[in-house]
Symmetry: C2
DNA sequence: GCTTATCTGCGTATCGCATAAACAGAGTAT
DNA sequence: ATACTCTGTTTATGCGATACGCAGATAAGC
């Protein structure tokens, strides 16, 4: 049950949108939502989400732990604010005219945003997150990319969801592989695995593993800077390719039959 | 750094595959990995992942907290074991012959597995998870579904990844919406949102929201039992549609030119 | 200008949880 | 039998979130 304000909105949403009139009677405030969130994000970037404790955030600001609670009603609320604040899209974005290129560009932007603060992916993306400013902006941009694609609005929203999820999941995977990658399977381990992953038990997978097409121990895992992530590209290609088919069907129906 | 065994494999992997010889000198064991994991899963199912504490698990088994550590080296390891044990696929699966139908069926099976224990989605899916038995089995099944699809092995693995991620993300979304759905936006909240989501700031999204095509306050959010989840279907359709295009390209090259 | 209702930041205190450490008794190999 | 290895337990530690109450700051209303 997310805390709600007198506005009926979850407090985090109200704060993120800048509603939430500051009180006037008392002393001047020494802190602000912005500073707190910024400090928390800095810690998360540097030491991971687990290092974000109320104590750590407070200390990095030179305040006591409890002072934070004057601004944020719970750690959960802080996390929500961080999530939104961290996923910032570039100010001005020029999307290509062709919707295919535009969608790819949009996906790239979203991917960069996630990559800049991968820990956001560890936070739940629920209906509250959807209402946050940067999410709304991302959705708007996504719609912009598809403006020339003849699809009903709700399907466009669906496409945005599907692509966001794909991008998010890809970055998460990439991150997990990179993180624990070092611990990957040493040779002895691979030996043992071959004993259990037998053709008898896994007729389709076993051959693939033996032929070494799948994560050969030295792992082809992403090391490149920009974007040589085959899984990301494959998924995006498939989706866009699928959209092209839909577009053609649509066009076919709207004109007369086939071209 | 996930704890490794003398085998070089993460201990969780060794345990899950049933390697890990039980000691022989001491007294008989009163517990087993299986019972512990089963108890933990039961708690997670009933009260959520947060309710899974070492204390709770131990108590439900009638043992003390610390006794668990004789079987599991850390809570993290227990969570990994739970994740694998919870995602069980049906024993015998008959996949349709057509790869499109087979992939859809496979996706459905995976979806059902996630839905049965949604909390598994809150755990990180890293390289360790990939090596666990049920994941391997799922991959094998996925390959089986694509056996008649003319694609290189690594791309098939890619497709499996893409679809799993899509399914996982969809179930997670569905779950989050259902969970916090009750807290959704009351009318006053929607009012306020309309004040910030203006056509000026969000030229593409604002019209959509006004036309009510997007989560109209009473929310068309999934309530149906089986599968009226438009986002899930849309994504799967797009991917499969994209695969059809690839298939045709492949076929075109292999025979001569076009059909 | 005073009084008062509000606020602010802070110290203190509680509670839940993961996990280290050390111990007594149970079995087994020799 | 005897020593060695395990088992389950008890006890203790440390961390993190957060409820509570206090003293000083400050603006609103008289």
């Amino acid at each position: 049950m997310a805390e709600t304000t007198d506005t009926g909105l979850p407090r985090a949403v109200a704060i993120a949108w800048g509603m939430q009139e500051a009180p006037q009677r008392g002393p001047n405030r020494g802190l602000s939502h912005e500073r707190i969130v910024a400090a928390a994000i800095q810690i998360a970037d540097a030491e991971g989400l687990a290092a974000v404790t109320m104590q750590a955030v407070a200390k990095s600001l030179g305040f006591t732990t409890m002072s934070l609670y004057r601004y944020v009603s719970s750690k959960d609320e802080l996390l929500r604010l961080m999530q939104d604040a961290a996923i910032t899209l570039p100010e001005k974005v020029k999307l290509p005219g062709d919707w295919r290129d535009a969608l790819r560009a949009w996906a790239g932007i979203v991917r960069d945003a996630y990559r800049a603060h991968p820990w956001t992916l560890d936070l739940p993306r629920g209906p509250i997150a959807v209402l946050m400013p940067n999410n709304v902006r991302a959705a708007d941009l996504g719609l912009a990319a598809m403006k020339d694609l003849p699809l009903p609005d709700d399907e466009k929203i669906g496409v945005i969801l599907v692509i966001s999820q794909h991008v998010g999941a890809s970055v998460e995977l990439e991150q997990n592989l990179a993180a624990e990658g070092a611990v990957a399977i040493p040779d002895e381990g691979a030996q043992l695995l071959n004993e259990v992953i037998t053709p008898a038990r896994f007729p389709h997978l076993a051959p693939v593993m033996e032929s070494g097409n799948y994560i050969p121990d030295d792992s082809p895992v992403v090391e490149a800077e920009d974007g040589i992530d085959p899984e990301y590209d494959l998924g995006l290609d498939l989706i866009i390719s699928g959209l092209e088919v839909m577009e053609k069907q649509k066009a076919g129906h709207e004109s007369s039959s086939g071209m």
